[in-house]
């Protein structure tokens, strides 16, 4: 609670020299990461446990965070991958029937530093204007040497092995009686698995560096390229693997999976000035002309100009910045969306995308059967 409890000072220093002083919560250690802001008013538990946020220092724009605590159901991964959390005010004593612990306690448990009592709107506007910046959360109670910290940040190279960090080390199944879906885990959110389970899919999750041959040997009806953190170009071997799989079995990409799919088809990706992290991004389905509110969490995008000659068709677009949000190759029986149809957190309007994947697999099976 904001008030009299004497909390320890902590600073957030950004590479442009901006300094924000606040109060420490969570773990005591210092941490460096890419500062990005997330605009969802609910869903902090999902946001901080989304592996796509690996290495990030996440700024929540809604000022009261922790209100309903942390529960056992709403994790998007078992471990938190973010490097820090920046908020206006932490609710120390949550109120919700599912709450099992407070957000502050979770961050302590997971060793992630947090800072509160920050003018997060000022910080958000700064990040909006300058784009994502590298930032450092200082150790609790530690005084800062500004120049040294800024120099440190400017020299700091964002890690390029994020996917390897969050991807599963060995394959695991999540059995069902329906379609066999092999999920390539680049940092998968549990939400995607929940959706596949709902559709009774027989899921096998494999590490990001699993070869095409191994995947084919699992006899999938379809392959799902999962979401994940960072720059798609940094994911070693992924493009080659996907290239090999394309055209063999239906493929469905989400988030980073969407970008990798585009790269594999010959398109290009680039870092955006402002990431989309939140639950209120309108996206138009160009076929039905309907606009849905979508959950998003991406800092890279597929470049429009690079589509020529790839055979890719744009199926979805962000209404506001025209960003490509969905691609398809009918010939290759593959499609992908940049947003998160599994939501968690955020609106579930585009949940129908999973149904499309199932339909695509069914149609593909039928074709094979007729051909055979």
């Amino acid at each position: 609670m904001e008030g009299w409890s004497m909390m320890t000072k902590r600073y957030l220093v950004l590479e442009d020299g901006s300094i924000f002083e606040g109060k420490a919560f969570g773990a005591e250690n210092a941490s460096i990461g890419e500062a990005v802001f997330a605009t969802g008013m609910t869903g902090y538990q999902e946001t901080i446990s989304n592996p796509s946020g690996c290495g990030q220092i996440v700024v929540m724009t809604y000022p009261l965070i922790g209100n309903y605590g942390i529960n056992r159901d709403d994790y998007e991964s078992i471990d938190l991958a973010i490097n820090g959390l920046v908020i206006r005010e932490l609710t120390e004593e949550p109120s919700n029937f599912r709450s099992g612990m407070s957000l502050g306690d979770l961050l302590i448990l997971k060793g992630i530093p947090g800072i509160q009592e920050i003018d997060t709107r000022k910080l958000t506007r700064l990040l909006r204007d300058k784009g994502s910046l590298r930032g450092k959360l200082t150790a609790a109670g530690e005084e800062i040497d500004t120049d040294a910290t800024v120099a440190e940040l400017q020299q700091y190279e964002l890690p390029t092995d994020l996917v390897a960090k969050v991807s599963t080390k060995r394959p695991y199944p999540s059995p069902g009686l329906g379609k066999r879906v092999v999920v390539i885990d680049y940092g998968i959110k549990h939400g995607i698995l929940r959706e596949l389970n709902k559709k009774d899919c027989d899921v096998i999750v494999v590490p990001h560096d699993t070869s095409a041959k191994e995947i084919s040997a699992l006899f999938p009806d379809g392959i799902l390229l999962s979401n994940g953190p960072g720059n798609p170009e940094d994911v070693e071997g992924a493009v080659e693997t996907i290239k090999e799989l394309l055209g063999k079995k239906p493929i469905f990409g989400i988030g980073l999976g969407h970008q990798l799919f585009a790269l594999a088809c010959g398109a290009k990706t680039a870092k955006m000035k402002n990431s989309h992290i939140g639950g209120n991004y309108p996206v138009k389905d160009l076929n039905t002309n309907r606009t849905d509110l979508t959950a998003q969490s991406h800092g890279y995008e597929v470049l429009e100009d690079s589509l020529a000659g790839t055979g890719l068709e744009v199926t979805h677009r962000a209404l506001n910045d025209n960003c490509i949000e969905g691609l398809r190759s009918e010939k290759l029986e593959a499609f992908a969306v940049q947003f998160h149809p599994e939501a968690s957190p955020g609106p579930q309007d585009s949940n129908y995308i999973f149904e499309r994947f199932i339909q695509l697999m069914t149609a593909s099976n039928r074709k094979e059967n007729t051909n055979a």
Partner: protein
């Protein structure tokens, strides 16, 4: 989808007068809708009976009709104007019900008029309890166990099955009129009876009570292409059981996880898709705090009070876009007007906390039941924004203007623990403050949760506030503690109380310490996109986003929440003032806290500060903006009351100076001023103590008019006939306004006259003189006003104009003034001068075509009245007769005496205009909701002083064919005059009493001028309440009765038998 080109003209139906449950939010919605449709090039025809609205300004539509919203009149307008389409979902329940009536009458089909937006069958499905329940069952959406009942037996049958408590919800009524929670048979009998009475289809829903669940609302929009969005979700701090209009509400939801939020969001969107809503819609849900179980409570298939709140809370203009959806545009092709660079198909995300607190009229209605339930009682509301919940609610508390600045009650520390517990268990208007008191006494939040079912999250926040009082107390002038206190929303007033110093002292100390607020922008997107919206709220953080421009600016203070005595008419004047400031080349900055109004639409002014109207909050804005000055005369008493503190801090008051304001409001100064300029007033003096009051009253002679100085709407004003009454009154009055003395005047009976004038220092423009139907003694806001006066001689009019001019110049008025005169025995006396805009300004502006607030503002800013093209003196009256008829909300307020007196009771007003007084009155009465029947029975029961006058009235009623029923005393008088009358017993006598007559619907009109009095036990009171409960018009003034009679007479032809030939002898 592009907009429709097959329709050219659209009829918009407004919401009529302000009543409890339907306030200024529909002026806001209607104004936005009209402008929005005009913007798209449609010809807009508007009908609304409420003259005090911005939407009835002639610029708002191509044709504006201020006529009764009844089938008769709307049909007539439709036949005349032949619109292609009708838009009814922006005029509240009134507009919606009118559309249904029109449809059922067949006129829409006959003339091929299409209903735009949400279709009628969808409206039916949402509003008809039975159809709605069926639809929900089909969709598999849970609704609480319920049954439609048409009589009390069916109600008992339901209770037998389900058990108490049950909720009664009458079908098709406004703000839950006539409904409530029943805990036992007695409640059931009473509430079901009233519910059936108020439901136009004599139908109530009886529902298993789910009190204690979280009450959650979703404001949703859908277009014809099936795009659907949630503009805002809101969580009621008060659990299910209290009408949402009477609940403290916060946006966004604070205690819901994303999973709960998405679950309810999906439900809401599924429902509006199923209903095929085209436009705005409100979905109310109940969520079990201990599981994912939820129920659908209600769906409002139209723009509502909640959508006004959602619009202001997020910045997203729901009504404006709903109107565009109605003409075929879709969300994905319209821009978000807030950012200007993103699309309207978007869900706003907030980076602040919004709190709404209702404003109740219990300060005026001491005897009213203060407990809250399913029937709304608030007249208005305030909203506040902050970056912490504590800041947000503390700002809302001081915005209420109830004299409270924190979570404490006057005399709170003397209350018993039992009393406090009781007032927390049984929700009432002051529950929040009783909770503060309980926390101060160490009651745990868990206990309070048990008592109130309020979520621990909110209780903890209240506890934070109360606990911090101690810390403040122990750390006077500690900068860090002070800063934290400000971040928790503590006003200087409370800090000063805890530090035992003055508010000014704390303010100055903070300035010296640099502890000043910054202003953050409301941008719908939490800063993600750039936005130029000039919409700000204050908070204590690092970055200030409100930048002062080079342009000279003027600050206008708004009028705060709608309450009795200060309604939408002050918002009307405020908005016109803003426009005039802009026309004069200045930047217009507005400060206000009422989410329902047009003035808090960010597109009205150059800058909107959504802030409390206290000296501290206003001074912060003045410090930042450095305006040329502040205009206080349009924001009612709220703004006027800030004038002296503002001037004391070196702020220039534009318009009538503080000294002159004081001269008009301070009794003694006023008296000497009147003496100087030679305008007579009734004998009167100021009393500072009780003994003094007794001496003065004896000197002047009873009856006397007593009132505290500096009050609103005649609050606590009374006519006192005896010393005993005076003593009784003094006790209450002193309580009502402790810092101010009491005025005692001779009470003169006579015609009351009201005048509004504009003065620039040299010229006095008098747009018009109004004559009241009711004699002096009835508050001007509750009187029927007639323009132009019908019974005044030319010389009398000249005297009034002359006095007005002398008063304006003598009091050095700059801008608007309002004067009340009484004509007694051929002599004109001034009763009161208000050096500010008044209730009648919009009424007169519309009639005379003189935009009074605009002219006054320009005069204030230096453009003389003559330069503006107006002349000195009384303006030429236009043709026709215009009446302003007050509208009351007594049905909503149990135990309130409806008798008219010096204290104002009406919540709104309507206008009637026509070529004769009778025709205008007819329209006015009909528009006010009174049924004027050509024949029937009138029940008379009058006091001794009125018995002489009733005779003539009774005779005339007989002439029209009415029958008369009277109680014994009155009947005797009438019989003595050979008038045929049926005598009925008084209350408590044997045989049929007048109560039976009323209850059985045997009287179509009641004239009751019996004993006034605040004790509900009195007969007169009981009778009057009975008329309200049974929906029979009750006139409590002989003058109103005479006016009503003249209308009835004018409606009917004379039927005199032929005179018998005289026998010539």
């Amino acid at each position: 989808m592009p907009k429709r080109t097959d329709i050219k003209s659209i009829l918009v139906i407004g919401s009529g007068p302000i009543v409890i449950g339907q306030a200024a939010e529909f002026d806001y919605a209607g104004t936005q809708a009209c402008l929005s449709l005009k913007e798209e090039g449609y010809r807009v025809i508007l009908i609304n009976s409420n003259p005090a609205t911005i939407m009835t300004d002639t610029e708002m539509a191509d044709k504006v009709y201020i006529e009764p919203i009844t089938l008769e009149f709307v049909s007539r307008i439709i036949r005349k104007e032949r619109p292609d389409a009708l838009l009814a979902t922006l005029g509240g329940q009134t507009g919606l019900n009118m559309a249904i009536e029109l449809h059922e009458s067949g006129i829409l089909d006959e003339l091929g008029i299409e209903i735009l937006g949400t279709k009628l069958d969808a409206i039916h499905k949402a509003e008809d309890r039975d159809l709605f329940r069926t639809l929900m069952n089909e969709m598999g959406e849970p609704v609480p166990d319920s049954d439609i009942i048409h009589n009390i037996d069916e109600a008992y049958a339901f209770v037998k099955e389900i058990g108490y408590p049950v909720i009664v919800r009458p079908a098709f009524t406004l703000g839950g009129t006539g409904g409530g929670i029943c805990h036992n048979d007695e409640d059931l009998e009473e509430i079901v009876a009233s519910g059936l009475k108020y439901s136009p289809v004599t139908q109530c829903l009886l529902e298993k009570s789910i009190a204690g669940f979280k009450e959650i609302e979703y404001e949703v929009m859908r277009d014809s292409a099936d795009n659907a969005i949630v503009v805002c979700n809101m969580e009621n701090v008060d659990a299910v059981g209290i009408h949402t209009g009477d609940s403290i509400v916060t946006a966004p939801c604070q205690t819901l996880t994303d999973r709960e939020n998405q679950m309810l969001r999906n439900v809401s969107l599924n429902i509006i898709r199923e209903l095929k809503i085209e436009g705005g819609c409100n979905v109310q849900l109940a969520l079990d705090p201990d599981s994912f179980d939820y129920y659908i409570i209600e769906v409002n298939p139209r723009v509502s009070r909640s959508s006004a709140l959602a619009s202001k809370a997020t910045g997203y203009p729901i009504a404006k876009l709903a109107a565009k959806i109605a003409v075929g545009l879709t969300l994905d092709e319209m821009m978000n007007p807030v950012t200007g660079n993103t699309y309207a198909c978007f869900e706003p995300t907030l980076d602040y906390v919004v709190t709404k607190i209702p404003r109740w009229p219990f300060d005026k209605f001491e005897s009213a039941k203060r407990n809250l339930g399913t029937q709304m009682k608030a007249t208005g509301e305030v909203m506040a924004m902050g970056r912490t919940f504590e800041e947000s609610i503390m700002k809302a508390v001081r915005s209420l203007e109830t004299g409270q600045f924190d979570l404490s009650l006057p005399g709170g520390n003397e209350m018993s623990d039992e009393w406090i517990e009781q007032r927390i268990r049984k929700a009432g208007d002051e529950r929040l403050f009783f909770i503060g008191e309980a926390l101060r006494r160490g009651v745990t939040i868990e206990t309070i949760h048990e008592w109130s079912a309020i979520d621990l999250f909110f209780l903890r926040k209240f506890e934070n506030i109360v606990r911090y009082e101690e810390i403040l107390k122990d750390n006077p002038y500690d900068k860090e503690i002070g800063y934290k206190a400000k971040r928790l929303g503590f006003p200087d007033m409370t800090i000063a109380k805890l530090w035992k110093t003055t508010e000014r002292e704390v303010y100055d100390w903070r300035q010296a310490q640099g502890l000043v607020p910054v202003y953050k922008k409301v941008d719908t997107c939490a800063g993600e996109y750039e936005s130029d919206t000039p919409y700000f709220y204050g908070t204590y953080e690092d970055e200030n986003e409100s930048v002062r421009t080079d342009k000279k600016s003027v600050i206008v203070l708004g009028s705060g929440p709608i309450r009795i005595g200060q309604g939408v008419e002050f918002d009307y004047a405020t908005v016109h003032c803003v426009w005039a400031i802009q026309q004069s080349g200045y930047e217009a900055i507005i400060v206000n806290n009422n989410p329902e109004t047009v003035s808090t639409d960010f597109s009205i002014s150059d800058k909107l500060y959504f802030e409390p109207l206290t000296i501290e909050d206003v001074m912060h804005i003045v410090d930042l903006e450095q305006p040329e000055g502040v205009i206080v005369q349009f924001g009612g008493q709220t703004a006027i009351n800030l004038a002296d503190e503002l001037e004391a801090r070196g702020v220039k008051i534009l318009g009538t100076s503080l000294e002159d304001i004081d001269r008009a409001e301070n009794r003694d100064k006023f008296e000497s001023a009147l003496h100087e300029i030679g305008v007579p007033q009734p004998l009167g003096k100021t009393a500072l103590s009780v003994p003094e009051a007794v001496v003065i009253a004896t000197e002047i002679g009873y009856p006397v008019l007593v009132r505290p100085s500096y009050v609103l709407g005649g609050r606590a004003m009374e006519i006192v006939y005896y010393e005993e009454e005076l003593l009784q009154y003094m006790e209450n009055a002193v309580k009502a306004s402790p810092e101010h003395p009491v005025l005692i005047d001779r009470y003169l009976t006579g015609t009351e006259i009201e005048v509004d004038a504009i003065c620039d220092g040299e010229t006095v423009l008098i747009p018009g003189i109004m004559e009241h139907i009711e004699r002096a003694g009835v508050h001007s806001g509750d009187s029927i006003a007639v323009y132009p006066p019908q019974n005044l001689s030319q010389s009398m009019i000249e005297t009034i104009a002359d006095y007005t001019k002398r008063l304006a110049l003598g009091l050095k008025i700059r801008g608007l003034m309002n004067i009340q005169f009484v004509i007694s025995e051929g002599q004109v006396y001034v009763i009161e001068v208000n050096p500010r805009s008044s209730r009648t300004v919009p009424f007169l502006s519309k009639i005379t075509n003189i935009p009074m607030a605009n002219v006054a503002t320009q005069a204030i800013l230096g453009k003389s009245i003559l330069e503006q093209g107006y002349t000195d003196g009384l303006a030429q009256a236009p043709a026709g007769v215009y009446v302003k008829v007050p509208v009351f909300s007594f049905a909503k307020l149990r135990r309130v005496d409806i008798t008219l007196g010096p204290e104002m009771k009406s919540t709104g007003e309507v206008m009637g205009k026509d070529v004769t007084l009778e025709k205008a009155l007819y329209k006015g009465l009909v528009a006010a909701g009174m049924e004027v029947k050509e024949y029937g029975t009138v029940l008379m029961t009058v006091s001794d002083k009125d018995k002489e006058e009733i005779v003539d009235i009774a005779k005339r009623f007989i002439e029209t064919g009415y029958r008369i029923v009277a109680t014994e005393g009155t009947a005797k008088v009438l019989e003595a005059e050979n008038i045929e009358v049926r005598t009925v017993g008084k209350i408590g006598t044997e045989g049929p009493t007048l109560i039976d007559v009323i209850q059985k619907g045997q009287a179509q009109l009641v004239i009751n001028t019996l004993t006034k009095g605040k004790q509900p036990a009195r007969d007169g009171f009981r009778i009057r309440r009975e008329t309200v409960e049974n929906g029979v018009p009750c006139l409590t003034s002989i003058d109103t009765a005479a006016a009503m009679l003249s209308v009835i007479e004018s409606m009917t032809f004379q039927t005199d038998a032929m005179p018998k030939p005289q026998v010539v002898q």
